[in-house]
């Protein structure tokens, strides 16, 4: 507050009157009296009034809420006087009759300014009175006034030491309970202000100022409140909140510092706009999700087994069988996840079924199962949470189609774009979309050959269905063939035969999407719709492939289970045989256990590990294909185009091959499906999540490099959906679909008898049952046995159904209410609009908007283009006021138009900005009538 000195002056002026104000019940009256007295000096000395208000701001922060109009002035005041007077005039002009005339008088500049200066004073006074009136009316605010009063008195006592530093110690004794309450309230309000300051559309300077003030206030009065008996707790609380806020902020700072790849994404964003960047943000999100999953998997399953479990080679399941040992270390075998990697912690089979391991008595099997399920639980939670958040962010979009043009106009430019090429594309795409909409608007139906198109669309769908079916069958066929190969001798197989399944799946994923795109050309949809179809089809393809693969795998597993039974019988039989022989030979029943090298033990096929290996291979081949495609399809193409262009007969860069575009939808779908495979496979291959982490990490760097180096921005940028929720929805669906097979196997299949943490159990979930029955107190197992009783389950299910029904109807009710409210709001808004012209009170937003107008004195001269404005305006406005026309004919009359329009509205939203530019012409228009000038004019008409 620069003008402190002046405010001192003002205070001292008041002092005399303030002192005699008693703090009895009639305080209010006294206050009013004193105010009235004060007003007089103000009228005479302008600067005093100025300061007075200044001071008032200090003393009555609470008032600010109420006296909206006075507020901005307060804070601006410290700048300079003339600015303020301009403003006063601005908001005042429309109210006075003189203002209308003012338009016509274009002559003397000085005259007007004089007038302004004069006007400011009466206005001020009036405001003051207003204020007071309000104060009187609102009884509930008396309390706080008391507090103010008190403060003022204090000030008085201190003989106008510059207010704020006034002693809070003298304050305490005079504070009564009610006052304290009021003060507290005020302090809370200030705090609220501090918290929401950043949401206020004010200039930074003003914000900083307000912040400072509020903080000082809080500081001072919190101190006061904190002193004295019984207030220690309050002081403590205040201190703790302060600390907490500080900590929160530091933590927030730390957190944002930890977000990786911020710069990288920004770089991509500025090159390609927000849609490509959304892919990378999605990738980063996936990475964090997987990091957490990896934490679970590694910390609760892998690490305990490695640290506390038996070492490699101690038991059969942790040993490479004798016949495989020769090749177990070969790279080709390792890359196929055979040999040592098959019998490592990467796969299900490695884990021992010992109930508790190590010093900590860690229940590994239980933890394995719980983590396997927990991964799904956690993912589900996170996906749904972020979906909910996204849903809140997006506009409600209920009136889709109502605002086609306005939306295009105001929201189509992507402010993130920072690359000339992208910008050009964006311009082009915006132009096209406008043209399209114009055409749509001009002729809504233009189906010249609807039959042909329908036929083509049916044909296209038929072709695509055929493709989908074909690819499904192909996969089934290949998996079956793979099983046949698996029974043959491994050495006889070529590399292709061994990796046929993965190869074919990747190939299909590679070939089919472009094929679909080509077929979709037949359909001739709008690109946005076409994109949706395309996404749906690719989704169906991937899903079909994955599920065919799974079914084929289940066949395989069942076969293995049969096989396993035979082996199990054979082993048992061999064991019995051995025992019988031993007994017969040594004639003793104490049979020592058979000593066999773990490598030589007969073992079952361990179908879980086999499934895990399948998923592992699939993931690896997926990575390979994806990376190769980027290298060849994007990088290779870019290199060729760039360098062959020097010696080619047509322009390669602009013409046929050109550079590749970044296919967002394909990439996102690829990511989603990859994640699906991870979810499915993680139970059988705990190492899969780790592998995925590596993949995501490398693809972040690799893809962001590739996209910057060899891709060009899209020619037509379309967003797949209005928010990321589309991707999230896909992810949720995939999560659900990958949950099904895993839960199915856990619940129905019996685990292998000689490998994995559940070996020897009939069903995997028996681990949980055992723990409940044996290790927990009996009453809990009782509870569980009751809970699993059909008599309890049925009502529970029923209850849930009822709850769902109830919630559903409630949400429908809310929706309805929402709709009604919206309608009401609309109506209210319309009404308000209609009334706006003659309403004094204003909404805060308008006020703030006005406040944002630049410094009047520095306004640039009007741009040339603006000169044509008025004519148009007149046409549109003509019906409203004829007066405008006259004004409009002069150049640069924009503002005047507004003045005249806004004349009935004291708010005069727009006036100031342009006024200074226009001042000379305005003044020349005619003499300003006498009553308008100086303070002789008297109060403005109400």
């Amino acid at each position: 507050m620069p003008p402190k000195k002046k405010s001192d002056l003002a205070i001292s002026v008041e002092e005399g009157m303030e002192v005699d104000a008693t703090d009895s019940g009639s305080e209010d009256e006294a206050r009013r009296r004193s105010r009235n007295r004060r007003v007089k000096p103000q009228r005479k000395v302008k600067c005093v009034s100025d300061d007075d208000e200044d001071e008032e701001e200090d003393e009555a922060p609470r008032k600010r809420g109420r006296k909206k109009r006075a507020k901005p002035q307060d804070s601006d005041e410290d700048d300079e006087e003339d600015k303020r007077s301009v403003k006063n005039k601005g908001s005042k002009a429309p109210r006075s009759r003189a203002a209308k005339v003012e338009r016509e008088d274009d002559s003397e500049d000085e005259r007007e300014t004089k007038k302004k200066a004069g006007k400011a004073v009466p206005k001020k006074e009036k405001e003051e009175k207003n204020l007071e009136k309000k104060g009187n009316v609102k009884g509930k605010e008396e309390k706080e006034k008391d507090a103010e009063k008190n403060k003022k008195k204090k000030k008085g006592k201190l003989s106008s030491s510059s207010s704020d530093s006034s002693s809070s110690d003298s304050a305490e004794e005079s504070l009564s309970e009610g006052e304290i309450e009021a003060l507290k309230e005020q302090v809370e309000e200030k705090k609220q202000l501090i918290a929401t300051l950043r949401n206020k559309p004010w200039r930074m300077k003003r914000r900083l100022l307000m912040l400072k003030e509020a903080q000082d206030f809080v500081e001072k009065f919190e101190g006061a409140l904190g002193k004295g008996k019984g207030r220690k707790f309050y002081a403590f609380k205040v201190m703790m909140t302060k600390k907490l806020i500080k900590f929160k902020r530091d933590f927030e700072n730390f957190k944002t510092a930890c977000i990786p790849w911020e710069r990288k994404i920004k770089e991509v964003e500025s090159h390609f706009g927000s849609s490509v960047a959304s892919y990378f943000i999605f990738l980063r999100w996936m990475y964090t999700l997987n990091l957490v999953l990896f934490g679970f998997q590694f910390g609760l399953v892998v690490l305990p087994e490695i640290m506390m479990g038996l070492p490699y080679g101690s038991i059969p399941r942790k040993t490479v069988p004798r016949e495989e040992q020769a090749t177990a270390m070969d790279l080709s075998v390792l890359l196929d996840f055979g040999g040592y990697s098959q019998y490592s912690f990467l796969f299900y089979g490695y884990y021992n079924n010992e109930k508790m391991i190590g010093l900590l008595k860690f229940r590994l099997p239980l933890s394995y199962l719980l983590v396997g399920i927990g991964i799904f639980g956690y993912s589900l939670m996170v996906v749904i949470k972020s979906m909910a958040r996204n849903a809140n962010e997006g506009g409600d979009g209920s009136d889709e189609g109502d605002f086609i043009f306005s939306w295009k106009m105001f929201t189509s430019w992507d402010y993130l774009i920072g690359n000339p090429e992208t910008a050009d594309n964006k311009y082009a795409s915006i132009t096209t979309s406008f043209k399209e909409s114009i055409v749509d608007e001009q002729e809504n139906q233009k189906d010249e050959n609807i039959h042909l198109r329908r036929f083509l669309r049916v044909l296209a769908n038929f072709l695509i269905l055929w493709c989908l079916g074909g690819s499904g069958y192909l996969i089934y066929f290949v998996v079956k063939r793979g099983q046949m190969f698996a029974q043959m001798n491994k050495e006889d197989l070529t590399w292709f035969q061994k990796n046929e399944v993965e190869f074919v799946m990747s190939l299909l994923g590679l070939v089919c999407p472009p094929l679909f795109e080509t077929i979709a050309e037949l359909e001739d949809y709008h690109p946005r719709i076409a994109l949706k179809w395309q996404l749906g089809r690719i989704f169906a393809l991937f899903l079909g492939n994955l599920y065919t693969f799974l079914f084929a795998l289940f066949d395989d597993v069942n076969e293995k289970l049969q096989n396993e039974k035979l082996i199990k019988n054979a082993t048992e039989w061999a064991l019995q045989e051995y025992q019988a022989n031993y007994t017969a030979y040594f004639n003793t029943t104490a049979v020592p256990p058979q000593v066999v090298n773990p490598a030589d033990v007969i073992r079952g096929p361990c179908w879980e590990t086999a499934v895990g290996i399948e998923f592992m291979k699939l993931t690896v081949s997926d990575i390979q294909v994806a990376y190769l495609m980027i290298l060849i399809g994007d990088f290779g193409r870019a290199v060729l185009v760039r360098f062959l262009n020097y010696c080619w007969c047509w322009d390669l860069e602009a013409g046929f091959p050109s550079y590749a575009e970044f296919a967002i939808s394909d990439n996102v779908l690829g990511l989603v499906f990859n994640q699906g495979m991870i979810w499915m496979g993680a139970f059988y291959a705990p190492g899969l999540v780790g592998l995925n982490i590596l993949r995501l990490l490398s693809s972040m760097y690799y893809q962001s490099w590739a996209v910057m180096a060899c891709n060009i921005p899209h020619e037509r940028v379309f967003k797949a959906s209005r928010s990321n929720n589309f991707y999230m929805g896909l992810l949720l669906l995939v999560l659900f679909l990958s949950l099904l097979p895993v839960v199915y196997t856990i619940m129905t299949m019996s685990p292998s008898f000689d490998c994995g943490p559940f070996s020897g159990q009939d069903k995997m979930y028996n681990v949980v049952m055992d723990t409940i029955n044996q290790d927990l107190p009996s009453f809990i197992s009782n509870i569980f046995s009751y809970a699993t009783n059909p008599g309890v389950i049925m009502p529970a299910v029923l209850l849930m159904v009822l709850a769902i029904y109830y919630l559903n109807s409630v949400s429908k009710g809310y929706q309805q209410a929402n709709k009604d409210l919206k309608k009401k709001m609309q109506i209210a808004r319309d009404e308000e609009k209609n009334r706006r012209n003659n309403k004094d009170s204003t909404n805060q937003v308008m006020k703030d908007l006005e406040d944002l107008l630049p410094n009047k004195s520095l306004i640039p001269p009007p741009a040339e283009e603006e000169e044509e404005t008025p004519i148009d305006v007149v046409v549109s406005k003509g019906k409203k006021s004829l007066k405008t026309k006259q004004g409009a004919k002069q150049d640069g009359v924009n503002l005047e138009r507004d003045v005249s329009l806004a004349a009935p509205n004291p708010r005069a939203p727009v006036t100031h900005g342009p006024r200074p530019r226009e001042r000379p012409p305005v003044n020349t228009r005619g003499p300003l009538p006498g009553p308008g000038r100086g303070r002789g004019r008297g109060g403005p008409p109400r």
């Binding site: 559309p201 300077k205 944002t256 506009g395 979009g397 105001f410 406008f434 703030d848 630049p854 640039p860």
Partner: protein
């Protein structure tokens, strides 16, 4: 900050954090970006908040704004003098309002200011025409422009005064799906 020269006092940083959506690191980065624009003009030491303004022509060379068709308007809107000369406060203000975390209400207000070319607190046909021409680089014919402007007003104007007031604008933009994702600048 070790022996590095301090740019802001702790207090200033706290105040900025209270008033914007930025973390302290971001504020410091903003300052360095601001300083980059005019190294000879902007001091490293901001502890006594010097009153320095960087002109519009320099501001719009920032890569974040360079390609934006509304860059001049953005800068003008946030400058206190309306000419586009930004003090550091204005500069921070600008990026705070345009950052990802700022709420829709605030963005709406500033968007309105930006699209209100003639600063009369209404978006009239002239403003729309200018917006459209900037968006399409003047590729549309004048009839097309007129049609689009008419349509836009028809869609969004609730009170029938043939121009968009803030309420109209707010109502329209609050339903736009792309507004939040597109109306932000990352610094």
């Amino acid at each position: 900050m070790g022996n590095k020269q301090t740019t802001f006092t702790e207090e200033q940083l706290e105040a900025y954090q209270d008033c914007t959506y930025f973390t302290r690191k971001e504020i410091l980065r903003l300052h360095s970006r601001y300083r980059e624009l005019a190294p000879h003009l902007v001091p490293l030491d901001y502890t006594n908040s010097p009153d320095i303004r960087v002109p519009l022509t320099l501001i719009v060379t920032m890569p974040e704004l360079k390609e934006n068709p509304f860059r001049d308007r953005i800068v003008e809107t946030f400058s206190e003098d309306g000419l586009g000369n930004l003090s550091f406060n204005d500069f921070v203000d600008m990026f705070s309002a345009l950052c990802e975390t700022s709420p829709r209400e605030l963005k709406t207000i500033y968007a309105f200011k930006i699209y209100d070319f003639n600063r009369d607190n209404f978006i009239c046909k002239e403003d729309l025409k200018k917006t459209l021409n900037k968006l399409t680089k003047g590729d549309l014919t004048s009839e097309e422009v007129a049609l689009v402007c008419d349509k836009a007003i028809e869609e969004a104007d609730l009170d029938g005064d043939s121009k968009l007031s803030f309420a109209d604008f707010e109502n329209m933009i609050s339903k736009a799906p792309d507004f939040l994702s597109n109306f932000h600048i990352r610094i």
